[in-house]
Structures are given as C-alpha cells and as structure tokens.
Symmetry: C2
C-alpha cells in the first residue's frame, strides 16, 4: 500500500479493501453509502458486495454517461440519500469513473451543505486525473461541468485491479491524461511513455504513482486554478468543445478521446505561436495518433467549436483562454488564438 | 460607514451606494450581475437603477418565496448568467431578503464551480442573520435548505434604508433572529430589547451592529457548525419543521415567525430539561408573544412536526439534535428530546 500525502487528504494506492478497512477503522461516520457505477459493479460484484456487507454500506448502482451527468441525476441521488436517512455526518463512497466521482462528489458536497465523501476511481482517467484535485461538477445546458464546486474528498483510494476489466477504449481514453501530464511538466515521463506500444502491457502500479504525483503537485500549489493549475487545461479548451458537440451525436467521444484531439490542435496552436518547434509538434502528433483512431469532424461542427469555446470556464471577459505548450514538459497559461487559427488547428488534426 | 471585519471578508454598515462604489473601485471583475428581489426593486427602483447604470450591472428581477427557493429557480439563474456571458471572474450582487441571498449565493457558488458574489440584504432577517456566515442553500423535497454549500461572499453591504419600506410583518419576522442572538449569548442585548414596544421606533443603525456582531463572532469561531455555531439553531429545529409544514398551506409562516414559535417551544424544552427556570421561560414566552400573534397548529400538523424534525440537517444518526438555552444569554448544544416532550412543547405554545 503506497500513500501520497496532500495538504488536506491522502491518496491510497493499492488494495481497495485494505485501504477501506484502514480508513473506516480510523474515521467514524454516522452511516455509510456508496454510489456505484453499474458496469463497475457488474464486473467487481463479489468484492464490492463484500465491502458493503462488512462496513454496512447502503449502495445505489446507477448507469452513467455525459447526458446523465446532470442536475436531474443529482436530484435522484439526493432523494435516495434522504430516503435512506443519510445526514451530514454520513459518508458517500463514489465507486466508478470520472462521471461518478464528479457527480457523486458534487451531490455529497451539496447534500445538507456537505457530507463526507471518498473517491474510489475505477477508470484510468479517473485514477490519474478526475479524482484528484477536488473539482466536482455536472453538465448543464450542454456545457461540460458548468455547475459544480471545489471540494476535496476525505481520501482517494486507487486500486489498479479495476483497470484490468476496462475496455480498450476506456483504457486508451484515460491514457490521454497521462500523456497530458507528461507534456505539460514531465519530460522524463514523456520519454518513458514513448516506449509504450500496447497499453495492456503497461505495469500501472509502477506508472500510476508518477502520473498521479504530477497532478497532485500542481493542484497542491494552486487548488483554485488561479495560475499553475491552468496547465492541466492543455488540450481541454478545444477538447471540451468537441466532447460537448459529439455528446449530441450517435457516436459520442469519450473524455480522453476528445482531449487527445484537443491536444493535437492546441499543440498546433502552440507551434503557430512560436512556443514549440515543428519537430516537437510532429512528435506529439505522431505519438498521440499511435493510440487514437481519427474522428471525422464536419465543417459545421468546426464552426460550432469556435462558438462553444466562448463558454469555456477558463475565459475572462470575451477572450477565449488556452494553455499552450512551451516545449515538451513545459507550459504557458493564459494564451489566446483567433477563430481562423482555432479552425486551422482542427484542419491540421484532420489532415495529420 | 461602519466596517466589521471577519477573517475572510468585511461587512459594511451604511449607505449602500457608497459601499458599492468603494468596493468596485478596489476590486476588478470581468463583468457585473445583480439578482434582485422584485419587491425590493419596485420600492427602491431609483437607487438600484442608478447603481446598475453607474457600474454596468446587468440585472435580473425575480419574485421569490420558499416554494421558489429551488433547484429549478437556480437553473433559471444559471441559464440567465450563461446567456448574458457571465464567467467565473464575474460578480453577482444579491439584492433582497434571505431567500435571494441563500439562493443567489448558491447559484453563484456553483456557477462554473464558483463566481464571486456580494450580499446586499434588504430585510431585517437577512441583515442580522441570513447574509452572515456563508450558509447558502435551496429547499429540496419540502426540506428547508436541503441542498447547499458553505461559502463566504466577497463582502456584505448592510443598508438600513431598506428596512423603512419593509412591511410590519417582515420587520417583525426578522426581529426573531435579533431576539435569538440575545437569548443565546448576549444578556445585555436581551435587556435592551425588552424595552422595545414598537419596532418602527427602533434606531436600527444603532441596534444592528450589536446584533450582527453576535452572529459574526459565532461563525468566526466555528464556520462549519461543528460546535459553537450550533447555538444559532436555537428555535430552529421545531421552527424549520413548522415552516416546512405551513409552506404547503394557504397561510405560510415567514421564517422568523416560525422561529418565534420554535423558540417558545425549545425554551419550554430547555426548562423541562432543567436548564432554565420557570421565571425565565415565562419571561421569554411573554416577550416573544408581545410581537407575534398566535398561530393555530392542528393535531395532525403536530404529528408532522415530530416526523419532519427527523430530517433536520443537525441530526447525527437517528437522534434529533436541539440547541437549548442554559439561562438567558447562554446555550447548550447537542441536546435531545422525546417525541412526547416535543409535542408537549407545541401544546405549551398553543396554550401560553
């Protein structure tokens, strides 16, 4: 069992049952609840049932997607907590991917002005990124994470056993955030990643602590995203817009898939602004393309992207805010790009 | 212009225009928005229009009541903020009573994970109590303030000019919280209050700072209601339940009116538990009854109260949590009462 300390809480890396035992022995709550992703539950029924029995956890399994990451679903969660007698001294354990963590965390943070919650991320994306840093939210009016709060969990329990049952697509999606962590601050990690050909062959117990540490260090310095934390938004301005647009189609993009495209586009903008060389852009584009199949983006969807980025949470006034790369392993926050440049970056992606 | 400092923000007591000028000169926001109680706007149109013009404030007037203090109304506020281009660097000014402050504050605290907000309370209740201490919430499933967060405003601007246009009923309602502040910690204030016969004759500019200071001191010591802040819940366990029940009738109780009844009931329970003398109970009952006409409470409503208190946010596990008085100007938190005692206290109120 590895432990990573943060100023407000600690992260356990290892066997979830052991971590949960330790935590619930040391900390008393009025009662225990769990919000569980239906799919994670189906795949890990035996283990989860054991925990629920041992620690008297009342569980709600829900199926989730970006459309269901909503205030409506929060209302269902609040109603369930009320019906089961949860109070502000109770604990909610969120077992699932980023959506479960973001939404369950937001529901807990607002239920009776805040009950305790633990994040137990089951996807690579949530383990390496979403669960860390206290960002909680739901989507609202087609804008991703439009309503939410910052609040840290009691603890985070990361168990890589969950990764074994992830689909290839889910695993690849999560890998985008690992790539991002390397690109913005960790050139050594970038070199390590470049050796990876097959994600199934990766030793996650070894790689994850390094990628988690990157995120953890950044949010420690700047929890409320005034400065350094904006680095984590690399690939996310365009990525989020694409994710929102594809959410309404028959073939939605997973979060990491959208960020992968966003990173290629924003690496292009970084190059255009003179921050990275042509060689660096080519290396980034080639590495990302190794894992992600190209998605078609229509001209009208490109127009929509330039509309949607105007609603990005990072913006100040009317200026769209980007984070660019300044070399591999370095970033530059508070950058901007014209609409033609933005559209050009998507054409670059489509033709790369 | 008086100023009261708190660890996180300051409270201005005086002319609102002057306070607003000072604040917006010193602090830069991407854009300014105001959520304004329709009634307060009608009564103070000229002044408010002047502020909006001078500081380029986009305003939304809404009518409010406890039924409209909801997630649905928050959705309207979020949608309006989006349509008007508010971002997380914008400011929302909440001009109105406790409902506007609680709900506007919650909408701001969750919009794009939190934009800045200022409270400008226009009712006595909001000026002396609701606006101070960072409690934000909306009602959910008939439970008062069931969904919310703790977050402090940028500043609070208290201008007693608003009190002149309040109805007698509103003014009297707010006075309940002044009485509560005296009862729980300030015997001197209690003696001063006892001289009041007519609320219209009170010099609020003189009395308010004292009552505001009580609340401010308590939330300073214990912002998240772990201990001392629970003192402020005196009268509120039964009061909130009554407020919820009457919310569904043709004659809803105003918050302070419900708390006035709650304080008489909980003073009775304090006496029954041996914490205050018969004389003290009589004095409290007589003083409160001087300002509030008796409300009829039916037997079935009394039964409902004992059901509803089980959902109170202060509860831990299955035990209903009360704050009792321990003499006038002193309190005792984490108390309990049996259902017969609770019902007995309401019969005491009905027959006092």
């Amino acid at each position: 069992m590895k432990k990573i300390k943060t100023p407000d809480y600690q992260i356990f890396l290892g066997d979830a049952a052991e971590a949960l035992d330790k935590w619930l022995k040391k900390n008393q709550y009025a009662s225990h609840f769990a919000l569980i992703d239906e799919q994670a539950y189906r795949l890990h029924k035996k283990r989860i049932d054991d925990w629920c029995k041992k620690h008297k956890i009342k569980a709600l399994q829900i199926s989730v997607n970006e459309k269901l990451k909503s205030i409506r679903t929060c209302e269902k969660i609040w109603t369930w907590l009320m019906a089961e007698g949860a109070d502000r001294h109770s604990l909610l354990l969120n077992i699932g991917g980023g959506i479960i963590g973001d939404m369950g965390g937001f529901a807990a943070a607002t239920y009776k002005r805040g009950m305790a919650f633990i994040q137990m991320p089951t996807t690579l994306l949530a383990q390496v990124d979403a669960s860390i840093g206290g960002k909680l939210a739901v989507n609202f009016k087609s804008i991703k994470n439009n309503v939410g709060v910052f609040r840290n969990p009691e603890t985070i329990i990361i168990d890589t056993a969950f990764l074994k049952t992830l689909s290839d697509r889910e695993l690849t999606s999560g890998f985008a955030e690992v790539i991002k962590h390397a690109l913005i601050v960790d050139k050594k990690l970038w070199k390590k990643l470049n050796k990876i050909e097959n994600l199934r062959a990766v030793n996650w117990d070894k790689l994850l602590p390094q990628a988690v540490a990157v995120k953890n260090e950044i949010v420690k310095i700047d929890p409320y995203e005034k400065k350094e934390r904006k680095s984590l938004n690399f690939g996310h301005t365009i990525g989020h817009a694409l994710e929102s647009i594809f959410m309404k189609t028959k073939n939605p993009l997973l979060h990491g898939e959208a960020i992968a495209v966003g990173m290629i586009c924003e690496a292009f903008l970084s190059h255009e602004s003179g921050f990275i060389s042509k060689n660096e852009l080519t290396a980034i584009t080639a590495f990302i393309s190794r894992f992600y199949t190209k998605r078609k983006i229509t001209t009208s969807q490109i127009k929509k992207v330039s509309q949607l980025v105007k609603h990005d949470k990072k913006n100040k006034g009317k200026k769209v805010n980007y984070t660019f790369l300044r070399g591999i392993g370095d970033f530059k926050i508070n950058q901007s790009a014209t609409t033609p440049s933005l559209e050009g970056s998507i054409y670059y992606y489509l033709n790369c």
